[in-house]
């Protein structure tokens, strides 16, 4: 080891340690002056604040940890909704951008250019403060299909009331497991004998038949609860029954999915374009039908290009969902890094927990993606 190699490293290390030491010394002094002790014990204290929208039971008498869970679940909820819609829109628009129809291609690119170049926060504000505020009051709302009510106070949809819901869920899980086995079997059969099994139709059939069987024989029973208008005061109306989706959730999910869809569309386009023409021609020349070409040759190669950046976009969407704080959707940042921080004043603990949550989420996904990329990478000799 020569000195030229060790010295720069030692210096860097020294600088980093000095900075960290400086910060932690100051933090200690500051906290001493303010009479705060560092620690995570406050998580079990009673939170005494309310959250207006939560997936699990929560009120002021629960602990701060419970409030953290409420925020985390709300973040996950809006991210999952956003990811589903962004994927659907993104794939459609991405394929539309490859269309040989001039009008379709143009409209898709106008959409992409427009929504991509406007800040997400502005879009969220637009939907929340401008577009959704133009909706009618509950008492003036025309029902959509008789059961959906889109009002200024939120979107009211009918809810299912289940009997023996667990059996229904088991039937779906059973269907999914058997589909996985059938896929493995079909793949092995194709590799050994070259015979293709119609996996898709079998899977759809299973997914339909098993739940239906559970209805017929498992004692599963579902009824629909339609929201009904109810008068609160002289001019205040609301709907009761069913599920209420608050406008914050709608505008956030809408903005997130429309914004992220533009990036996913670009990923899809790049992926399909990335498959060389020769591959399609070669596949066609050995007698595969156009559908088979798409399924067996183009899609597997395109997905290899599409999936990694798309996962990145999913991650971005999840991180962007923290903008919820701007429109008071009670996500992790608003509930925990906002309200809980104001109440307890424990800036270091709370901000570090919030950051660690996001950090562990994205690091675990990126580790998974690295593994996946290695697995699907073309193994060249």
């Amino acid at each position: 080891m020569n000195i030229k190699k060790i010295l720069p490293q030692l210096l860097t290390l020294l600088v980093v340690i000095l900075i960290f030491g400086f910060f932690s010394y100051n933090a200690q002094v500051n906290m001493e002056n303010r009479g705060i002790t560092f620690g995570y014990g406050f998580l079990s204290q009673e939170s005494s604040f309310d959250v207006q929208f939560s997936l699990i039971e929560y009120d002021g008498s629960h602990s701060y940890f419970r409030a953290y869970l409420v925020g985390l679940l709300n973040t996950i909820l809006v991210s999952v909704i956003g990811i589903i819609f962004a994927t659907i829109i993104g794939v459609i628009v991405g394929i539309a951008r490859l269309s040989n129809n001039y009008l379709i291609e143009r409209s898709a690119s106008v959409y992409v250019e427009f929504f991509r170049n406007i800040p997400l926060l502005l879009q969220i504000f637009f939907w929340y403060f401008a577009a959704l505020r133009a909706l009618p009051l509950p008492q003036d709302t025309e029902p959509m299909f008789g059961v959906f009510f889109l009002t200024i106070k939120g979107f009211f949809v009918p809810a299912f009331v289940w009997n023996n819901l667990d059996i229904f869920i088991y039937s779906i899980i059973a269907a999914i497991i058997s589909i996985i086995f059938i896929r493995i079997y079909a793949k092995r059969k194709q590799e050994n004998e070259g015979v293709q099994t119609p996996v898709l139709s079998i899977s759809i059939g299973l997914l339909l038949i098993l739940p239906i069987l559970s209805f017929l024989f498992g004692g599963v029973d579902a009824s629909v609860e339609v929201p009904v208008i109810k008068q609160l005061s002289q001019s205040g109306f609301t709907y009761e029954g069913g599920i209420k989706l608050p406008p914050e959730l709608i505008s956030l999910a809408l903005a997130l999915s429309l914004y992220t869809a533009t990036f996913i569309a670009e990923c899809v386009r790049a992926g399909v374009q990335g498959v060389s023409k020769g591959q399609k021609e070669a596949a066609a020349s050995i007698g595969l039908t156009p559908n088979q070409v798409l399924k067996l040759v183009v899609m597997p190669q395109a997905l290899r290009i599409i999936i990694p950046p798309t996962t990145n976009q999913y991650l971005n969407l999840t991180k962007n969902s923290s903008l919820a704080a701007a429109i008071a959707y009670p996500d992790l940042v608003l509930v925990f890094a906002g309200t809980a921080l104001m109440q307890t004043g424990r800036a270091i603990e709370i901000v570090s927990i919030t950051m660690l949550t996001y950090l562990s989420l994205s690091i675990s996904i990126s580790i998974f993606m690295n593994w996946y990329n290695k697995k699907i990478a073309i193994k060249e000799k």
């Binding site: 190699k5 720069p8 490293q9 030692l10 860097t12 290390l13 980093v16 400086f22 910060f23 932690s24 100051n26 933090a27 002094v29 500051n30 906290m31 002056n33 040989n100 129809n101 001039y102 009008l103 379709i104 409209s107 250019e113 427009f114 991509r116 170049n117 406007i118 800040p119 997400l120 926060l121 502005l122 879009q123 504000f125 637009f126 403060f129 401008a130 577009a131 505020r133 133009a134 991180k319 962007n320 923290s322 903008l323 704080a325 701007a326 940042v333 890094a337 921080l341 800036a347 270091i348 901000v351 570090s352 919030t354 950051m355 996001y358 950090l359 989420l361 994205s362 690091i363 990126s366």
Partner: protein, 480 residues
């Protein structure tokens, strides 16, 4: 004349098919046009669903009739090839045309016909359209935030001066071309920094700045008479000496007096805002995040394990957290890490936070470029006896950066689009100003106009940036 088969149009009866088809398509568009622009339904005598779908059906048949391969008519072939290749495409094309025609009148009336722009109070906005008066009245605020009106020339002047200085590269003669990189990377940011922090912010520090300007001007003028051999030392020593002389020996009292006469009013950063703040924040973050990102990416590929892992930790940390929590950290957690008597301005903290955040993304983009270079480039540079820094500055980075222009442009675009987030710490750039104006009791109910206005502005800025990066990419594209 051969037999007419309407299910399979062919070239033999071209004219018949063409005329029938074109008339049908034109008629269907005409129906929709009348319906949407003049609110007239000329087919209302038909039963409901049929009259609703009639234009679609007619247009569909028409498009089917004119779908003739190799017709010999250039225009027809072009139409068929682009919007009318098969039934499904024809259907989608018609749908898009109809949707555009349908949505034009409401948009036109909202944006232009029923909109108001005259007058200077809310009362003039009586139409059903947009109230551009609102934008007109608040325009100053949207551009400059709470910056005092009589002082706004300072922002304008700084931006004009900086834009002018930024364009120097286009007018530079061959002789100065080689210094351009140095100018843009070192000199220009420093000038910009002085302008913004001492001129826009104003206050007593500005006088210091004025000594500096005087010293620089005098030394540049004198510099013409110095032999080039000594220029290097001259430009380091003389300005500093002059500065010290000016400040402490000659004009100290006089300049203070002079300064007091026309002192620039000090404007605290809390009052800055609007679009100008968007520009200031994105400009500085852009300048700072690039070198930090460059060093991080080099560090990540370094052979020294300690430097490598520190860089990886930095990059992965900033990339893993949302910007809003970083800003939260800079506003509520960071003050805890500083000595009690030390105070860093809100704007500076925000700029540092965003720069570090975006630097991690820039680092990953540049790393992509570094990895894309073949090993041979490194080996060749080393075999010429180049050291680490020489190799990177002369051989590796010019090629790697060229490769990653689109990626860096995307990161910069993301940066510009992220600036509205500074509302978290209470700084109101244009989106924040919109939200403030929206809650003004005299101007309630104009949220839509404000957001549309800001969207258009951001769209223009970001779209121009992305087009410029595309041009840059084309310009520096080299065959590999």
């Amino acid at each position: 004349m051969s037999k007419l088969n309407f299910l399979q149009p062919d070239k033999n009866n071209l004219n018949t098919y063409l005329y029938t088809g074109v008339i049908l398509v034109a008629f269907s568009i005409f129906i929709v046009f009348l319906n949407s622009f003049f609110n007239k339904d000329i087919v209302s005598f038909l039963p409901g669903p049929i009259s609703f779908f009639l234009p679609l059906i007619l247009g569909f048949i028409g498009l089917h009739l004119i779908r003739i391969d190799y017709s010999g008519l250039k225009f027809l072939d072009k139409v068929n090839k682009n919007i009318n290749t098969n039934n499904f495409n024809a259907f989608l094309s018609l749908l898009i045309v109809f949707v555009v025609i349908k949505s034009l009148p409401p948009l036109l009336s909202w944006f232009i016909i029923d909109a108001n722009i005259a007058g200077d109070s809310k009362d003039v906005c009586t139409g059903s359209g947009a109230c551009w008066t609102y934008i007109k009245i608040w325009f100053n605020r949207f551009m400059y935030g709470m910056y005092p009106n009589p002082e706004q020339w300072r922002i304008n002047l700084s931006f004009i001066a900086l834009a002018f200085l930024g364009c120097v590269g286009f007018f530079a003669t061959e002789k100065f071309k080689k210094y351009l990189t140095l100018y843009y990377v070192v000199v220009y940011p420093i000038i910009a920094f002085f302008f913004i922090f001492f001129f826009i912010s104003g206050g007593p520090i500005f006088f210091d700045f004025s000594y500096g300007i005087i010293a620089a001007v005098i030394s540049i003028i004198l510099g013409f008479f110095i032999p080039s051999k000594f220029k290097m030392y001259y430009f380091i020593i003389v300005p500093i000496t002059l500065y010290i002389l000016l400040k402490y020996v000659f004009f100290y009292e006089e300049l203070i007096e002079l300064g007091k006469l026309e002192a620039l009013e000090w404007v605290e950063t809390g009052a800055w805002g609007g679009l100008s703040l968007t520009f200031i924040v994105s400009f500085f973050c852009l300048i700072f995040c690039f070198p930090i990102g460059l060093f991080l990416s080099l560090g990540r590929r370094s052979d020294f394990p300690i430097i490598k892992y520190i860089s990886i930790g930095m990059i992965e940390f900033w990339r893993g957290v949302p910007l809003i929590t970083v800003l939260f950290m800079s506003s509520v957690m960071f003050p805890m890490f500083l000595p009690e008597d030390m105070f860093i301005d809100k704007l500076v903290r925000v700029i540092i936070a965003i720069s570090l955040f975006e630097a991690a993304y820039v680092a990953e983009v540049i790393r992509g470029g570094l990895q894309a270079l073949p090993r041979g480039q490194y080996d060749a540079a080393k075999s010429l006896g180049m050291g680490y820094w020489k190799m990177h500055i002369l051989v590796i980075l010019p090629q790697a950066l060229k490769l990653v222009i689109p990626g860096i442009a995307n990161t910069f675009l993301a940066l510009v689009k992220d600036t509205p987030l500074i509302f978290v710490v209470g700084l109101l750039e244009i989106v924040g100003m919109l939200n403030l104006a929206k809650t003004n009791p005299e101007w309630l109910g104009f949220a839509m106009e404000g957001y549309v206005f800001a969207s258009v502005l951001f769209f223009i800025i970001c779209y121009a940036m992305s087009k410029y990066s595309y041009n840059l990419e084309q310009k520096y594209k080299t065959e590999r």
